[in-house]
């Protein structure tokens, strides 16, 4: 019987019915301390330190603070130091602040070659779906499950449903994978993928680079999906070749990985078709990633919404965002720009953003910052001179971490500030209490920084 890629990975990892073996457990400082403490209280060991890796990302300052001990915020310092101690006590490799391989957990997994096709990968972080871009089954879990994986290297999982989204046609010039996933969430809604593992397929997906595919899978959770997946292919294998953690006999592994893609005729619980060629650069206008529209459109009118719940939610969102229905999106003026996060902080994101600058300067009305996803991305960007391009244009060039995506560190918006952000969530207060977030692609963020308002990147010279 023909099988989906999901079926193949699930079946290969079932220890017994609905008990899945986990090949890689990624750990960070925020959702792990209570799990480590749980192990201690019950006298349990961490079963497989060799399948576990930890990094400090959510809480770390991006101002060049060299070690955990020097973090100014006492609570953040304690949390990062706790991670270091827990990792040492339980034998887990840790890339903490100051390590040359420290970074956002979903950036370092792929760049170290730890993320591989066919694997099961979990992390106490909802954006774990990112790793599905390699044809892995990867999903976010809570702290109780983190402890469960630490103790047993397995997880109890009810069998999810499967969805395939087929994209016909190709993305137009200037339209990115960020726009593709924002448009998809706009169409399906913030719970349109709830209960599903989603496979992204079709010509438009096959044409994407690995880093662009990671952006798509990353935001699966914003549509409610449990995991996003893309079939591994030559682009995947090329990206992985030579990375530190990949199998020694790489070619033999490639032959195995080639068996993973969904078989012809395999069936999904739901199939969706989206015309990729019709997608435009997107900007969110509200307080969920599903509240999104084309940059050429206007802020929608709540009165024209389908249901009373949608109308109410839109009215509240517009009030929070300080926007009026009917305003052209291009007239919205962000005062802050954030290029970073596990969605868009990889080297190609920074190359694209820097490439769009072309000698221009950040508008006087805007404060803009670039936060590389990892220390390795930062080093690579500096070798290529991208840091100079950003700094000469007036962007701040920072250290690696989650930073203003969630503002746990000092990088936050002030009350009422409006931000064009390459991150993944525009929730109320996400980037700082009272802050107003508009999600966009890296090039759209760059253009907004320079012009002081959103522009259609396709017509921007």
């Amino acid at each position: 019987m023909p099988k989906t890629m999901f079926d193949k990975i699930w079946e290969a990892h079932e220890v017994k019915e609905n008990l899945l073996y986990i090949d890689l457990h990624l750990v960070h400082e925020v959702t792990s301390p209570q799990a480590f403490e749980g192990l201690r209280m019950s006298g349990r060991k961490l079963r497989r330190p060799d399948k576990t890796v930890a990094t400090a990302d959510h809480n770390v300052p991006t101002d060049g603070t060299p070690t955990a001990a020097l973090i100014k915020d006492a609570l953040s310092r304690k949390q990062v130091e706790t991670l270091e101690k827990n990792a040492a006590d339980f034998g887990v490799p840790v890339y903490s602040l100051g390590s040359e391989t420290q970074g956002i957990v979903h950036v370092i997994g792929p760049e170290l070659g730890l993320t591989q096709p066919g694997m099961t990968i979990v992390c106490g972080d909802s954006h774990t779906s990112t790793h599905g871009a390699f044809g892995a089954l990867a999903f976010g879990i809570g702290t109780s499950e983190v402890e469960h994986v630490m103790a047993t290297q397995t997880l109890n999982q009810p069998h999810p449903k499967t969805m395939r989204i087929n994209y016909t046609g190709r993305l137009g010039e200037g339209v990115t994978s960020k726009d593709l996933i924002l448009a998809t969430i706009g169409k399906l809604g913030t719970s349109g993928m709830t209960g599903y593992v989603v496979e992204y397929a079709g010509e438009a997906i096959e044409a994407l680079t690995m880093e662009q595919r990671m952006t798509v899978c990353n935001m699966t959770i914003e549509g409610g999906g449990k995991a996003g997946m893309i079939a591994p292919d030559e682009i995947t294998f090329e990206y992985m070749r030579g990375k530190a953690g990949v199998p020694e006999d790489f070619e033999a592994a490639v032959e195995r990985w080639k068996q993973l893609p969904t078989d012809e005729g395999a069936s999904f619980d739901t199939e969706v078709e989206i015309d990729a060629s019709a997608i435009s650069p997107m900007v969110t206008w509200g307080t969920t990633p599903g509240m999104v529209t084309q940059v050429t459109a206007t802020v929608p009118d709540p009165e024209k919404m389908d249901s009373p719940a949608d109308k109410e939610a839109a009215e509240r969102a517009l009030q929070y965002m300080g926007l009026e229905a009917g305003t052209p999106m291009e007239e919205i003026r962000p005062e802050r720009v954030f290029i970073g996060s596990c969605t868009n902080s990889r080297i190609s994101d920074l190359r694209e953003a820097a490439g769009a600058i072309k000698g221009r300067k950040v508008a006087d009305s805007v404060r803009a910052m670039v936060v590389p996803g990892s220390a390795l991305v930062k080093t690579q960007a500096e070798e290529e001179g991208l840091d100079k391009i950003f700094e000469e244009a007036g962007f701040e060039w920072r250290g690696a971490g989650c930073s203003m995506c969630l503002g746990m560190n000092p990088d936050t918006l002030f009350e009422g500030e409006r931000c064009a952000s390459t991150s993944n969530r525009n929730f109320e207060g996400r980037q700082g209490k009272g802050g107003r977030t508009h999600l966009v692609s890296p090039t759209m963020a760059t253009a907004a920084a320079i012009e002081g308002h959103f522009v259609d990147i396709r017509n921007w010279s």
Partner: protein, 187 residues
């Protein structure tokens, strides 16, 4: 985990959809390394700004896609420690739902219309064993995975249960399944 079965009493209502975990427990409270003490920070910004008022009744009713966004289990801890024992909503995010069931905190999925009726009634009785919610003027059945239900009713410890399958895990690791993936300790 404490065993649960019948939850009965007054209903608090949060009439919003897409209540995300960033609202339930804002980021500044995630820096703590403990499992307790989150109740007082529940809906920190909304409550302090006077946007919502919530009494710590046993039952909370809210809108669709409750608990969306971040995987932070702190959201469940905060709701539970504030005093709620169950949330009834038309849908939940997968991770929030799962986190709830690991903490003896019951997520109940019912259609939007039914949620509104329960909210209006102001009092309800949730019966996990029989998978029903009843209120003055109505009753509804809800679905829940049989294994999750068994664990909630028994207050069973997930890890201890899984470790009963230690032999199966060892057998899996000794087979081809044990060879997947990198060795993180040798990087």
């Amino acid at each position: 985990m404490e065993a649960i079965n019948v939850i009965e009493g007054e209903v608090s209502v949060l009439d919003r959809s897409d209540v995300d975990t960033d609202q339930i427990i804002p980021k500044q409270f995630l820096k703590r390394v403990e499992r307790t003490g989150y109740g007082e920070f529940l809906f920190y910004d909304w409550i302090r700004d006077g946007e919502v008022e919530l009494e710590p009744h046993p039952i909370l009713v809210s809108g669709r896609n409750f608990g969306s966004g971040s995987s932070r289990e702190h959201a469940v801890w905060a709701l539970h420690q504030f005093g709620f024992q169950t949330v009834i909503a038309p849908s939940f995010s997968d991770i929030f739902y799962s986190n709830s069931t690991k903490n003896g905190f019951l997520p109940v999925v019912l259609p939007e219309e039914t949620c509104r009726e329960i909210a209006t009634a102001g009092q309800a009785r949730v019966d996990l064993e029989n998978q029903t919610v009843s209120w003055d003027g109505g009753e509804a059945s809800f679905e829940i995975d049989a294994e999750i239900k068994r664990r909630l009713l028994g207050g069973l410890d997930d890890i201890a249960l899984t470790l009963q399958s230690e032999d199966a895990i060892e057998a899996f690791e000794a087979g081809p399944g044990g060879t997947y993936g990198p060795v993180t300790t040798s990087l």
